[in-house]
Amino acid sequence: MSEMKFQSTETAWCPGCGNFDILQTLVGVLNDLAFAPEEVLLVGGIGQAAKLNQYVNANGFSGLHGRSLPAAVAAKMVNQNLKVIVNSGDGDSYGEGGNHFLHNIRRNVDIAHFVHDNQIYGLTKGQTSPTSDPCSDTNAGACNLNKPFQPLLVALAAGATFVARSFSGNKEHMARMMKAAILHKGYALVDILQPCVSFNKVNTFAYYREHTYELEAEYDPTDIKAAVLRSMEFGAKIPIGILYQAQAPTFHQRRPEIFDETPMIDKHPAPDKLEALLRQYA
């Protein structure tokens, strides 16, 4: 392994929180990929997961609740040399930011989106999240009277080209998913199951360890129909791995008349261009 350029600092998370594993794994992945801290941009909204960028020595953008994706894709639009990674929770990504989730998949800007999905609101202390389990006799605490949101199914329906799920208790798997997502050309979603030790007494480490299974070696991630079926599997058994991956032109590639090697922030058209345009109004 090359020089360890990325480090994490002290955090404000609860002892035992799944976020620690995600943070450590991400730092490891960034070091493995040998990026420079100044070329990495970590974007978050608001929530416990969204704080992740506060604890890494990289560029950090802590935006508004639910609004991490618009800011992240725009940063990438104007400077494609930044490696843009969004870390935010299920409430931020699928609830408050639902519209941005839907439409940024369609944009296919080349960013990675890691959703720390603990199926509950942590920072606001235990309310139901879009992905909370349905209410039943066995449920304690927050549960969904509404139908739970199925992020991977929605992502597939919106045309995502990289759809994966992992579990924070399986660091080796999580590292593989993160690396593949970062290297994928286009929008890449990794829904990371993560226990909330303070408020979610149902979906615990033990629960996820018992229910998750890795996709079989012969699983074909280019088969969208298979991916759709697996994306709906969430209960007794929860598949983890790359459910779907395909190549499609990215936001930048679809606009060759605008984007080239030079980042947009370095383009400053000369004043004569505007002077020529104004002459058309004479």
Partner: protein, 560 residues
Amino acid sequence: MFNLCIGGPAGYGIETMAGIFEKILQRDGFYVFSMRDFMSRIRGGHNFAQVRFGTEPLAAHIDLLDILIAFDLTTYEQHKARLKPDGLLLADPELALTDARLLPVPLKQLAKEAGNPRTLGVVCIGAMMKALGMPLATAEAVLADTLNPKLLDSNLNAVRLGYANGTPKFTLAQGGAKNQLLLTGAEAMAMGALAGGMQFYSAYPMSPATSLLTFFSTHAAEFQLVVEQAEDEIAAINMALGAAYAGATAMTGTSGGGFSLMVEALGFAGIAELPVVIADVQRPGPATGLPTRTEQSDLLFMCFASQGEFPRMVIVVKDHADAFYQTARAVQLSRKYQIPVLLLSDQYLADSAATIAPLDVRKAGSSVQPLPGQAEAQGAYQRYAITPSGISPMRTPGRSQAVVRVDSDEHTEAGTITEEARVRVQMVDKRARKLDGLAAELIEPTYSGAEHPEVLLVGFGSTTGAITEAVSRLNLQGHAVGALAFGDVYPLPTKRLEQYWKQAKAVYSIEQNATAQLAKLIRMETGLRCTDSILKYDGRQMSVDEIVTGLHALGVGKGR
């Protein structure tokens, strides 16, 4: 000076016809001011364009008409009272109007003869050219320059047929305007943004601000812009902020409803010190209000929107040239002070077209003095380093070894979350210090009228042209009236206001809203209380005549 109104149902090509006629006037050396009054529908209803032209520069519309072109009965009924007794009414005999001013021209029949029933408006143009004694050749040349070659022949036939069936009526003075540009307020604003260095524009379509998005999209490749139609206005402004953080000069635009959705992010720009220009092309609210009409009722909302306290600047554009220069200035001010700058226009100005003197791109692009070079603090780079000016050095992520951290939470100098009381106060104070620098940048309102006014008018933005003309009309009648027209409104420049206020016996605010928002702002910032206000909030812009009449009603210039 001539004043002409063309009216009919949506779908009759009134917009196109007015556009072609304006170009003909420009080419023949006339000054033009042309406004649009359109309903929020694709077909039917009643729409009109009003074109005023003459040998002096124009910046407002008036009520009295010399020519009325009526494509339907509604147009005739709505506007006949405004047509002068010796004016010209042009209509198809099919409408069976009985009016002494009528010049019947079989528009439909002639358009059919020309080979294209959709050339109705161009037949009218031909008849007008004849009535005004203008050369047909200019009309032919403008048509050749503007139209799709496939449509040209039928349109040339149409303009000639209209000309042949017209009757000479007026004698025009020779137009002497040279090198004038003819553009809309929206075009002026968009090109001002380009002059100021805008690189990124994100917006969600909303009348009457959509023309900005359309303009930027059309010219994106040419000017190497990122232009993105967002999924909603919340995304639009958060995109602009992400782009600004990454080093782009960013802007977004909307109308009041969209701005309402942007408000949380406005505060984010404030606390995170991200430069952004937010254009609000106002329409009457609240909620959906009157989508295609005009109002100045977002003023106080713009000044005070968002929870919390942070420096911002609000600039209202007054006319077409001002829209160009102020938008360029807004872009530069946002970058210099790392603040949100709110730029207000309205439907009236955005959609109206005027001839103006050539615009100076280089002057507009350097209208704000850059910051004096600042020695950066020793040690590791800190995005929010405490400085005397309140402005911290801004670096572009990826362009130095330093990492750049921004945060919507209250933060330390390094940009990480803090709840420390001392740091909180330091940061609020640091941001507020930017207002000291801004105070020195403020542009005082323009003054026009009597040197020592007995009556002082105050207004802002797009009513400036009409107020100025009303003042000179009253002063020609021997009154001593003056007017201050505000462009910068928040922070409010007060020097010139206090200077003229002392001299005047009465001060009236002239506003396109129902609650005298400018008068309130003035009172709030200076303690000065306007005597009264002339307010209009029916969605239609006040004319010069309405201001004069309004002042008469208040006892100004009566009986002299």
